[in-house]
Amino acid sequence: MKDTPLSNCERDFILKAIEEKKRLDGRQTYDFRRIKITFGTDYGCCFVDLGKTRVMAQVSCELVAPKESRPNEGIMFFNIELSPMASPAFEQGRQSELSVKLNRQLERCLRNSKCIDTESLCVVAGEKVWQIRVDVSMLNNDGNLMDAASVAAITALCHFRRPDVGIQGDEVTVYSPEERDPIPLSIYHMPISISFSFFQQGTFLLVDPCEREERVMDGLLMIAMNKHREICSIQSSGGIMLLKEQVMRCSKIAAVKVSEITELISKALLNDRTARKAGGRCGFAESMPQERITALKTDETLMETSDVTERANDIVEKAGAPPQTVPSPLVPAPGVGQVSQGQQNTWGLQEEDEDDDDDDDEQNGKETKMETEPQEEEKGAGDVVEISDSEEEEVVILTSETSGQAKNADSSSHQKRAAASKRRPKK
Amino acid sequence: MAADMRLPRVRKTLSVSESASHRRDLVVPGDIITSDTGFMRGHGTYVDDDKLTASVAGEVQRVDKLICVRPLKTRFNGEVGDVVVGRITEVQQKRWKVETNSRLDSVLLLSSVNLPGGELRRRSAEDELTMREYLQEGDLISAEVQSVFSDGALSLHTRSLKYGKLGQGVLVQLSPSLVKRQKTHFHNLPCGASVILGNNGFVWLYPTPGQQEEEAGGFYTSLEPVSLADREVISRLRNCLLALAAHKVLLFDTSLLYCYESSLQHQVKDILKPEVMEEIVMLTQQKLLEQEG
C-alpha cells in the first residue's frame, strides 16, 4: 500500500517547531526515547521498544560447511524483515530500498566491526562451522528503525547460548541443552548505532527521530560506536551536505549516548539472568504490560471568580419572572425523585433552609456567590399555574420533610444556583 | 568479401589554428564568473553567496548585462519558431506525445494539426477517435514549436503544408548544438536531394518531391520507389553529415554542400573511414573560410 503523503501544513508545523527547538513529544534535541528491553523464553530472543518503535530479534545457529576463502571461521548472517505489521507502507516480500539500506547498515555495523569472535565458532576446520543467523523483525514503525534494530541484534547476540560441542578424535558430538549447558558467544564489544537527522539543509539536528520527523528530514547520519569510543561504522544518507564540524559534534554526542545504552543493555541482561536463575517467569507474555483502571480521576479547573458577582447580578436582573410551574409530582419517599421532563429537581437542594448556611459555606471562596438568592425566593410565590410556551425544562426543586439534611454538594454549579433562584420550592 | 580492420592507436587531437584566434571564456562547474552583483544571471549559472557561479562546462556568453554559460552538449531547449523533426511516442486523448531529444516529450495537440483534406472546422469527438489514423506511434513528423509550457515541454503545430508526416528518407540524429539557426530549415540541395535540418539535431534527408501534393495536407506519404541515383545521393549526404558531426563542424546548407562536393572523389562507404573523414572536413573548412573571407 502506498504511503499516504504528509500534508504540507503538518510538514510546515514540524519544521517550524524544530526551528524553535521543540519536538512533537516534548523531548530535547539530544534525547532518546525510552528504551525497554525484554527477553523471550528462548535464549537469543529479545524485544526492544524505542518509544513506540518495536523490534524483535532472534538468533539461531546451525552447523554448516565454511566458506572456501575462510575455512576456520564461522559465518554470521543478518536479515532484517520489514513486515507489513510495522507499517502499511511495507510490502511483504518486496525488497524495498529501505530494507536494503537497513540490512547493509546492520551488516556493516556488526560484521565488519568484528564484534563476534568468528574463529571460536569453528568446530572442524574446513568442514563444520557454526552459522549464526540473526533475524530482526520490525513489529511497529515509529521512526528510527536502525537504532532499535542494532540494539535488538546485539542484545540478542549477547543473550544467545549455543549448544556445546564435544570433539573426540574424529567424532563430533553436539550436546543438547539438557545434556550440557549451552555456552554463550564470545563477543568482543557491543556496537550500537545512533541516528542523527538533519533539517533545513543541515542547520538543525535531532537525535532519534520519530516517524513524523523522519518524513520531513533532509537526511540521516548513522554512527555506530561501542562504549570504548571506537567508531564501528558511519553512514550518511539522504541528500544532505555535511560539514566536518557537524560530523565531529555528532560523534561526541554518539559517544555519550552509546555508553548510556550499553549500560542499559548490561542491566537488562543481568536482570534476565538473575530471573532465570531464580526460576522466575520470563518471556514475551510476561513483558506485556497489563492495562488496569485504578482510579477515576477528574481534573480540577480553576475558575476566575472575581467578576462573577456582577455578571450574576446582571443575568438575574435581566431574567424575566420565573414561569409558574406544573403541579408537583408525586414524591413516593423522602429523598427519592425522578429526573425527567418537567419533573422537579431531584438534586435535593433545600434552598430556604440552607440559604444562610450556604452563604456561610460560600465564604470559603470556591463557589459562586448568589447573594440575590434570598430576594429571589420571595418571587414566584403565587399559586397560579401558567402554561408557558417556553421549551425550557422546568426545574423543580424537591425538598424533603426533614430540613436538616444538607444535600448541598461541594461543587455546586452556577446553574444549580440559578435554577434554585428561579423557583420557589413548593411542598 | 573484404573486411576492414584497424588497430587502436593514439587519437591525435584535431589541431585547429583558428581556435587560437577565438579566445573563449571556458568555465567548469563551480567556477566563479564574477562577483559583481550588477549582472543578471542566465542559463547555466547560479548565485552562491552573491557570486555568480557557473553550473555547466562551456563558454560564457555575455549580452549586455546578461551572463549565461552555454554547455557543449545539451538536450534540445526549444524556442518558439524552431523547426523540429520528431517521432510520435504516444497517442493520448486529444494530443500526441512527440519525442524531440529535449528534456520532456513535446506535445502535439489535435487542434494544432491540419485535418486531411485541408478542412477548417472544430475538432469533434470523431476526430479524437480517428487520431490514430492520422499519426501513429513511431511516425516521424516535422513541426514547428508553437509555445513552451511552464515546465519546459514544447507545444508543436503542423499548421502549414510544409510540415507533417514524413515519408521515405533517412534520419540522422546529432547534437542540437551543431545545427545553425537560419531563416529556413528546409533546403532543396542542388545535388538532387532535400534536407530538413531540425533545430533539435534530427536531420531528415529525402528525395526531392516531383510535384507538390497540395490536397494531402501533409499526411499523405508517397510510397513510390526511389531511384538508385537518388539513394546514392542521400547516402553520401548522410555520411557527410556524420563526418561533419564527428569533427564538430556547424551544420547548415552551405557546409553540407561543400562537404558533399569534397567527398565526390571518394566512394560513399569510404567516407566513414577516419582519415577520409578528416580530409573531407579539412577541405570543407577551407572552403568555408574562403567564402567568409
Binding site: Q235, K244, A255 | G30, G44, L104
Partner: protein, 244 residues
C-alpha cells in the same frame, strides 16, 4: 593476512606510494556518441565507465515523477571479469543496490534537479576492473559524465577512500588495504561540503578528525585532476564557428 606490510618503516606502501599519495588518474570524456554524457576513468588499477542519459521524459513508472524536480536513477554494476574471482551476480545483489543508492544520494545533492521538473536523469556506472576504491572511482567517473552531458551541477563531486594503518592515514586505498579499514568521502571541493560519508572499520573516535582531514585533502587532489581533464576536453571540443 599476516605478512602483508601495509606500511613499511620507510613509509612506503604495498605499491610503492607514500602515505598521502594518490594513484595515477587518467580519464576521458565523451567516449560514447550515443549517450548524452559518458566518461571513462582509471585510478591505478580500478577502471570504471559512466554513462548519463537525460534529462528526459520519465519512462517506466509514471507514479514516480516528482512534480518539482528531476528524479535521479542510478545503477551500479560490476563486470563479471572485474574481480579476481568471477562474479556470479553482477547486479541485483545487496551490495550493488546499496552502492546504487549511495550514488543516487550523492548526485541528488550535487545536481540542480529543480531545473528539470517531471523528468528523469539516468546514471549508469560499470566497474571494469576492481582494485579498491570502487565507490570513489564510480563517483569521479559519473561526475565527468554528468558534466559531459551538460547537466548543471553545483560543483564537482570528488570522492576518495582513506584508511588508517599504524596511526597514519593512507589515501586512495587499493584492495588489500581496503579490507583492513576504509573511510569513503564524497566531497564538493569548493564549499568543503560532504555529500556522502561512509566508514566500515573500527576506528577510535580521536582519530576521526585526522582521518577526515586526510580524506578531504585527497578529494581536493582528485578534483584538481578532474578539473584538468574537463578543461582539456573543453578546448578540444569547442565548436569551430560560434553560433550568433
Amino acid at each position: 593476512m599476516a605478512g602483508l606490510e601495509l606500511l613499511s618503516d620507510q613509509g612506503y606502501r604495498l605499491d610503492g606510494r607514500k602515505a598521502t599519495e594518490l594513484r595515477k588518474v587518467q580519464a576521458r570524456m565523451g567516449v560514447f556518441a550515443q549517450a548524452d554524457g559518458s566518461a571513462y576513468l582509471e585510478q591505478g588499477n580500478t577502471r570504471a565507465l559512466a554513462v548519463v542519459y537525460g534529462p528526459h521524459e520519465m519512462r517506466g513508472s509514471r507514479s514516480r515523477t516528482l512534480h518539482d524536480r528531476a528524479a535521479i536513477n542510478c545503477q551500479y554494476s560490476m563486470a563479471t571479469f572485474s574481480t579476481a574471482e568471477r562474479k556470479r551476480r553482477p547486479h541485483g545483489d545487496r551490495k550493488s543496490t546499496e552502492m546504487s543508492l549511495h550514488l543516487k544520494q550523492t548526485f541528488e545533492a550535487a545536481i540542480m534537479t529543480q531545473l528539470y521538473p517531471r523528468s528523469q536523469i539516468d546514471i549508469y556506472v560499470k566497474i571494469l576492473q576492481s582494485d579498491g576504491g570502487n565507490y570513489s572511482v564510480c563517483v569521479n567517473a559519473a561526475t565527468l559524465a554528468v558534466i559531459d552531458a551538460g547537466i548543471p551541477m553545483r560543483d564537482y563531486v570528488c570522492a576518495c577512500s582513506v584508511g588508517f594503518v599504524d596511526e597514519t592515514p593512507l589515501a586512495d586505498l587499493c584492495y588489500a588495504e581496503e579490507s583492513v579499514s576504509s573511510l569513503s568521502v564524497a566531497l564538493l571541493p569548493r564549499g568543503g561540503q560532504i555529500a556522502l560519508l561512509q566508514m566500515d572499520a573500527r576506528l577510535h573516535q580521536d582519530h576521526l578528525e585526522a582521518l577526515m582531514e586526510a580524506a578531504m585533502t585527497a578529494c581536493k587532489g582528485v578534483s584538481k585532476v578532474l578539473d584538468e581533464v574537463v578543461r582539456q576536453h573543453l578546448q578540444e571540443a569547442a565548436v569551430l564557428n560560434v553560433c550568433p
